[in-house]
């Protein structure tokens, strides 16, 4: 849940920025490094106090703005995110892991002990939780930026917004709107390609449909998504198999509540058949 923005900088000093990693692939943090030109501008406006991917000289808190990447999958992470929250005036989660549990939340649909036994020679060394959960399941979050990975333009928009105490322009509408703004021909209607665009949060700029592929839902659910109607049409009119529907719902945002509920419903129907 997005909470009202709080003022970032408490004094005339530069706001202090921290970037945190939990269970994740680092791709969203890399989006920040990938900003290149704007990165120098950012370094000018904020003090980059903690960013292990960029600097091996971490500074202690408190921090004005914390960007949090990754999901919570270990007991230690449960403890650590509380510390981060306590040290952060504003906390923004970045990416599908931090906002929905990420691809590693596939464990939520199975028994994690089976995975551990199958993968590790010495399972006794592994200390992990049965689920992968978003940051918001553990601490209050001020803003969630969705996407796998996040869009660097949107990241800059969010940072700019928090620096200047205005609401970020990150519309929660469908990918379809991005397609239409670009003048794309709808791959669903014109080609019969199953596409998650109508239930997926905008932000990527409709990359996949622009290259005549269906949307994979990397940006997670949009506001007010109707997965039931989408799944029905995929199967009845576009000829998608149930397994394809489930696989598409269970990608990077598998544990986002709306997608998780839809995939479980599909699974339940499959078991009945």
């Amino acid at each position: 849940m997005v909470q009202p923005a709080r003022a970032v900088a408490a004094s005339g000093e530069k706001p202090r920025l921290a970037v945190w990693k939990f269970t994740s692939c680092d791709g969203c943090q890399l989006s920040l490094l990938d900003c290149e030109d704007e990165l120098l501008q950012l370094a000018d406006r904020v003090e980059i106090a903690y960013f292990m991917e960029a600097s091996s000289a971490p500074q202690s808190g408190p921090y004005d703005l914390s960007l949090v990447e990754g999901s919570i999958t270990t007991p230690d992470e449960v403890r650590r995110i509380r510390e981060v929250r306590a040290q952060s005036r504003t906390l923004v989660t970045i990416g599908a892991c931090a906002t929905a549990g990420g691809i590693q939340a596939l464990r939520n649909f199975a028994d994690v002990d089976d995975f551990i036994a199958a993968v590790y020679a010495h399972p006794e060394y592994i200390e992990t939780l049965k689920t992968s959960t978003p940051i918001s399941a553990h601490v209050p979050v001020d803003f969630e930026l969705q996407g796998c990975p996040i869009n660097k333009r949107q990241l800059l928009e969010v940072i700019s917004a928090f620096l200047h105490r205005r609401p970020p322009q990150v519309p929660p509408h469908s990918v379809c709107i991005e397609c239409k703004l670009r003048g794309n021909v709808c791959v669903w209607v014109a080609h019969g390609t199953p596409c998650l665009g109508p239930v997926t949060h905008a932000g990527c700029g409709a990359i996949c449909p622009t290259y005549t592929r269906g949307c994979y839902g990397c940006y997670g659910p949009k506001e007010n998504p109707n997965t039931a109607s989408l799944c029905h049409w995929w199967q009845e009119e576009l000829g998608a198999e149930k397994v394809q529907v489930i696989e598409n719902l269970r990608n990077f945002n598998a544990a986002a509540p709306v997608f998780a509920e839809a995939s479980r419903r599909q699974e339940g129907e499959r078991d009945q058949e």
């Binding site: 501008q41 620096l163 239409k180 703004l181 709808c186 109508p198 039931a228 009119e237």
Partner: protein, 373 residues
């Protein structure tokens, strides 16, 4: 019926004349499995011999086999994308020692020409003209694109199954003024256009074309093909009497059908984006990291989003039921009170491009049936 005849082999002459007159010509062309509107440089850019099969949530191209240039129905694009841009900067601002300076965006509008405009689309442009030019909230950016626009209308002889312009009294025959109006005729081995000018600018172009006078037989053939298109739609399942639709919807704010359609509707906004008359936009204000530069952008918006009806405390139309009802009631009923016409021209885009095939003519039928139960 148009008085002059242009051989199909000379169609490129028309295209080159329009370009020579300094227009950027936009027309139908093939892209990604659809007939879209884009730049036309020569006759080879046109979708010759292509047509479309359309149904609820479905659009497929198919060869015609007769070599017609304009033998298709309304596709995914409408002309509004060139007049009311999907995104445009409104102004930018800079902060300096004297405070904040607002800087106007000075951009020359291209002198556009649209080729292949259907009667329903002329009506759609006329509706947007009323919204942007005649109301109290004039849109200067629309105006500067609209003023130099050259309209080359082509009578529709190939409606899709999703078309219902005859029910909305907007076609298929061109009745509104256009600079040039054409009818494509496939006459045995002969292939030609009947053409006439409706304005002085059209006359000026007409004079530069290799024309012959049209014969009565050729005019009758052209009329017949338009008549055939009209009959096709009138006999189709989407033909309905629209005369009492406004009152019908005003009586049915609480129809159970709104709940049922909301079960299917994705609130994805495709219908409103594809609609040639939907005109809503929002503005996005942004700053850069320094806070020294700000910009205001206008972008298409849709009544199907939560942001659209967001006021302090939340979205007024939080659920799909209220959003669909808002869209359809505005389009077909309250539009009459606001702009003295329906907001629907019967092009069928919202039917074909709805991913889950919601059909507003079917919804009207159901609302009527439920009222009578």
């Amino acid at each position: 019926m148009q008085k002059f005849l242009l051989q199909a082999d000379d169609l490129d002459v028309l295209i080159q004349v329009i370009a020579r007159e300094g227009h950027r010509l936009i027309g139908p062309t093939l892209r990604d499995g659809a007939i879209v509107y884009d730049d036309i440089h020569s006759v080879s850019d046109l979708p010759r011999d292509w047509t479309d099969d359309q149904e609820k949530g479905r659009y497929r191209l198919r060869k015609r086999g007769d070599g017609a240039y304009f033998g298709y129905a309304a596709g995914p694009h409408s002309w509004k994308q060139f007049l009311q841009l999907p995104r445009r900067p409104v102004w930018r601002a800079e902060r300096d020692a004297n405070g904040v300076q607002i800087i106007a965006i000075e951009e020359m509008a291209p002198r556009l020409a649209f080729m292949g405009v259907r009667s329903c689309e002329l009506h759609a442009i006329a509706i947007q003209d009323r919204v942007f030019l005649e109301g109290p909230f004039r849109n200067d950016d629309y105006d500067k694109r609209r003023q130099p626009l050259l309209l080359i209308a082509v009578n529709c002889t190939a409606p899709a199954a999703t078309c219902f312009c005859t029910s909305m009294n907007t076609g298929p025959e061109v009745t509104l003024p256009a600079d040039l109006t054409m009818t494509e005729v496939m006459d045995g081995d002969a292939h030609y256009f009947l053409i006439d000018a409706g304005t002085g600018r059209g006359e000026h172009i007409l004079k530069q074309l290799p024309l012959t006078p049209a014969q009565a037989r050729q005019q009758a053939l052209a009329q017949k093909s338009i008549q055939h298109a009209a009959e096709q739609m009138e006999q189709g399942p989407r033909s309905f009497d629209s005369s009492d639709v406004k009152d019908l919807l005003y009586r049915n704010y609480e129809s159970p059908e709104w709940e049922l359609v909301a079960d299917r509707c994705l609130s994805c906004a495709n219908c409103t984006m594809a609609c040639p008359t939907c005109f809503c936009s929002t503005v996005e204000d942004t700053t850069d990291l320094t806070g020294e530069n700000a910009e205001r952008w206008e972008r298409w918006d849709s009544c199907f989003t939560a942001d659209f009806s967001y006021i302090t405390g939340g979205a007024v139309r939080a659920d799909t039921r209220s959003r669909y009802r808002q869209w359809m009631t505005h389009k077909l009923a309250t539009w009459h009170d606001q702009f003295d016409s329906s907001g629907c021209v019967g092009c069928g885009r919202c039917i074909a491009w709805c991913p889950v095939g919601i059909d507003l003519t079917e919804e009207l039928l159901r609302i009527r049936e439920m009222e009578n139960q």
